[in-house]
Symmetry: C2
Subunit: 332 residues, 2 copies
């Protein structure tokens, strides 16, 4: 199998990306294609020893910046690593594309160049989140801020396949993120999505309130991209703010400082559990190709783990299985 | 001044409510009216010593349960403590109403019995949240899940008055909770709200991403009730889950247990800072009367602090000031 990696994507590109790819070459099976400015890639690669036979380089002279408008970037930069990288998936020889670059541009390029899976109308970004019971899978994290209820059902069907095949959970439950548990709660949109899911998803457990996101009550958590993005960012922000506050207060007391020192191995262990880089990337569901979006601040480990997740997606043939599940329900 | 308190509201009513009222009678200035089943109130009051001249009891024979439908409860229980309590505000002698009961019923009763402030079309629930810089005020937390952009502007104008008068922040900034910083981000609804706020709010700082909610970047944070409820509950849930996780992991190591013990005074101090009961209640903005909604799990301290906040609302005459600010902008 061959995985295409965007060498220019992310805040620490190309260094962090290439370091991650080298780790992957040592630890994992997949052959890698690095796409981006070939001169930059080659000079960075000089730092490492690796099996040249397993690493190709494809030149893409243009780079989409992190805060560029998604659609505009596609029009203006036809030879960006994102556009060219996504297009490679249309060839049989390339199995997945990973980018830590501009999320909007990856979503737009994938939608336009790959098209949608039959029966899926809109793409969605999924993320794996740590919970008290293990892991849950939440989608959409921001690809679509104004979806229709049918789209949520399509995403739920794909999320179930992802969780079953890639995360290895046998009969994944699905919850609809809402502001009350009972049927009939929330917006008209949420109520309609509830009815659709109840009719089409055997493992639908109903509405899930936001205080249950991290308890592991539901294996799949479905919401629109606006709400998903808010959940993800408020969680990041709260964790950071509490961390800052604890550090600030601990400094005021020598005993507390000693306490923090004694607790630090435990806290590091917990942080590792919650670390996004352990899961590496967020799959883009719904497009006709395996596309993985990594965090802009991806470390080499995050890149390596994204490659590992892509390997599982390829091995478990998730695209044809998703297609089958969607076809069964005939939602559109 | 005279503050009406719903004796039957909340998970620990009437005990917790009455304990809080007694504390308030000792520490604060306001006279109190307890409304609810007078027999229950009187038998609970026997436990305490207090100044009888400052405490009235008004009988309301019916009780709205915590999970009852809001509108149905109003229709069926015309003599509930919530309905009768809200109605008292139409008389000159009563200045504010506080309830830790069914939020939906309090919102519905207030809207129907008191009506809206001129120029305000929908009510909103505000909460005070702790931040790295002090406190921010966030609204709506769930009174309206599908508002129009104009409603957000109306809430923002009222939030500014609240923060200035009750929280004592001179020229409060306002941020629109959105999924990107730049103008033009988010849903059509968010974009329209952005434009309105930019035209009508002098201290509008633009979009605020959810990772900035707890940094104190904006004094007022404005969003629809669906998103507000999600932010509040995901924060509660994350804090609880991380707490559970830390306790679970700490138990595995004697050194970490010692560390946690040494840190516990600092952690208690931080918890106190983040404790909802320190602020007591969430004001219901937009209705023509001072209504405060307390957390269903309100402790006596939370009830007392809600009474304290209501005193400040009364003293600072926030209703006529809000009316003036709304009239100036002529939004409707």
């Amino acid at each position: 199998m061959k995985i295409v990696v965007d060498a220019m994507g992310g805040d620490y590109a190309p260094q962090a990306v290439i370091a991650g790819v080298i780790e992957a070459l040592h630890e994992l099976k997949a052959d890698i294609v690095l796409i981006g400015r070939s001169y930059d890639i080659r000079s960075e690669l000089k730092k490492y020893q690796y099996d040249c036979a397993r690493l190709d380089i494809i030149d893409a002279p243009e780079v989409v910046e992190m805060h560029e408008g998604a659609i505009a970037s596609l029009r203006k930069k036809r030879n960006s690593s994102i556009s060219l990288g996504v297009k490679l998936l249309k060839d049989k020889g390339y199995d997945a594309f990973i980018s830590a670059g501009n999320t909007g541009a990856v979503v737009a390029a994938s939608t336009i160049h790959l098209g949608m899976l039959p029966g899926v109308e809109r793409p969605a970004i999924g993320v794996i989140i740590p919970t008290l019971k293990g892991f849950s899978f939440m989608t959409d994290m921001g690809a679509n801020t104004e979806p229709k209820p049918e789209h949520l059902l399509q995403w739920a069907l794909m999320a179930r396949v992802y969780v079953k095949e890639v995360m290895g959970i046998a009969n994944p439950t699905v919850g609809l993120l809402n502001i009350g548990e009972e049927e009939g709660k929330g917006t008209v949109f949420a109520q309609d999505a509830y009815k659709l899911m109840q009719d089409h998803l055997p493992s639908f457990i109903g509405n899930l309130e936001a205080n249950e996101v991290y308890t592991g009550k539901s294996d799949c958590i479905i919401c629109d991209g606006f709400v998903g993005n808010i959940v993800l960012k408020v969680s990041e922000g709260l964790a950071e703010s509490v961390g800052t506050l604890i550090k600030r207060e601990v400094k005021k007391s020598p005993l507390a400082m000693l306490g923090a020192f004694l607790m630090s191995p435990t806290m590091k262990h917990i942080k590792k559990k919650a670390d996004y880089s352990e899961y590496g990337g967020a799959p883009l569901l719904g497009v006709d190709g395996l596309v993985m979006i990594s965090h802009g601040r991806s470390s080499p480990k995050a890149i390596k783990n994204a490659i590992r997740a892509a390997e599982r997606e390829i091995e478990h043939k998730i695209l044809p299985i998703m297609q089958e599940e969607i076809a069964k329900e005939k939602i559109v």
